[in-house]
Symmetry: C2
Subunit: 241 residues, 2 copies
Amino acid sequence: MSTEGLRIACSNCNLRELCLPVGLSANELTELDALVANRRRIKKGPSLYTEGDTFTSLFAVRSGFFKTRVTTPDGRDQVTGFQMTGEILGLDGIVNDKHSCDAVALEDSEVCVMPFSRIEEISRSVHSLQNHMHKIMSREIVKDQSIMILLGGMRAEERLAAFLMNLIQRLSARGFSKTELVLRMTREEIGNYLGMKLETVSRTFSKFADEGLIEVHQKHLLIKKPEELKKLAVPSSDSCN
Amino acid sequence: MSTEGLRIACSNCNLRELCLPVGLSANELTELDALVANRRRIKKGPSLYTEGDTFTSLFAVRSGFFKTRVTTPDGRDQVTGFQMTGEILGLDGIVNDKHSCDAVALEDSEVCVMPFSRIEEISRSVHSLQNHMHKIMSREIVKDQSIMILLGGMRAEERLAAFLMNLIQRLSARGFSKTELVLRMTREEIGNYLGMKLETVSRTFSKFADEGLIEVHQKHLLIKKPEELKKLAVPSSDSCN
DNA sequence: CGGAACATTGAGAGGGATCAATGGACGTGG
DNA sequence: CCACGTCCATTGATCCCTCTCAATGTTCCG
């Protein structure tokens, strides 16, 4: 929960190809250096923000891993996403000036804090940033469409396969292996996200393992037949984010 | 599919309290009059746009009723939303400069065509429009969270109750009855949206009717016990859009 | 009036939930 | 460094909600 004053400019951040500045020119990048107010470290467990918190800033994940979660009045909750390096958190807060979900760190993490008023201000002069913000929000909307397909129409196997392919794809875009991954979340969190119970997640993993598609050692997964998995996950396997 | 040249300014549109201009001052409204390029009529059945269409404009529903739908590579499809008067269509297209879903008119409809480049341009000088666009997109993201709760964690009864309460709430915001409504979509479309089969939708309607919560006459519904329904639909019954 | 599209209702099957017990992994403290 | 407790994962047995398949009814429109 500590708030350090570490300041690093977007223009020489090694994430600039993944994060908000993606596609901006060198000149434009320099203008973005005023965008990040500071960095913030979050230990595993605590929330970056919580439902109801006043919205002031967007956050870019610099390192670590998050989940977002909404809780219903009757205490049920729903995991709405998992965010990794370079992805943006906080877009839910814009509409009502307060956050509508919790963002929880699943491991020790670090985020760049970008005051939203500053984003809007810079957007007015840097056209590409303006367009970029629109694209980021639109991407989120399109991503949510994929989740609706998943939750609305797919069966357990398909959901889990789609989930794995999505994770693999995002990890490989970050330079990680296409065949090996370490799950940062529990079976329960996966299940909650995918609209199934943790036992079903576990069983489905076991089934995939029996069929030789993957190898499971707790949170360590080895993808042995990506093509087969992809076939299971047919719909929108190219989904971004 | 005809493209008429009907031009009406936002500043004297009777939807300005519901639609994009909501909350803008009179002065600002005048600046928005350059925003709507034209109007377009869509008959029941055809699409306003289709997956893959080049994205150029957002659309505001002026009259009528739409559904948005994504189709997966293997032919399954998923209804991702229903849009009524004053609501915005096309946000999905921003990220890739092409639309990622179909927008289908469920009755004869009319939309205002707002070229996105013009929106971005005006946004740079009219700060409240800039903020407004961000809020509209954020609202869409928050709405999608509610759908995830619905699809991920609720049972058939709860889904349908939540759906009805949401419709009623949006209709009443438009001056329609809080207790009576005409469904513009079929059972199949409702079911697809809610992740259930049309038979289950029909059965659940019948169950609600048996319990005296509603009265069903095909597409005409009478809400007899809104409180009871709301209780069933507990989560995020206040969801916007 | 007849046909097509949509809705209702029933009977049976199945996928995933639920309840329950066991087994590993990890971290903390003795 | 081991013991213990906690958290997490696996697996089994059973049940129930929803899907599926199928028949009938209703409305609307040409």
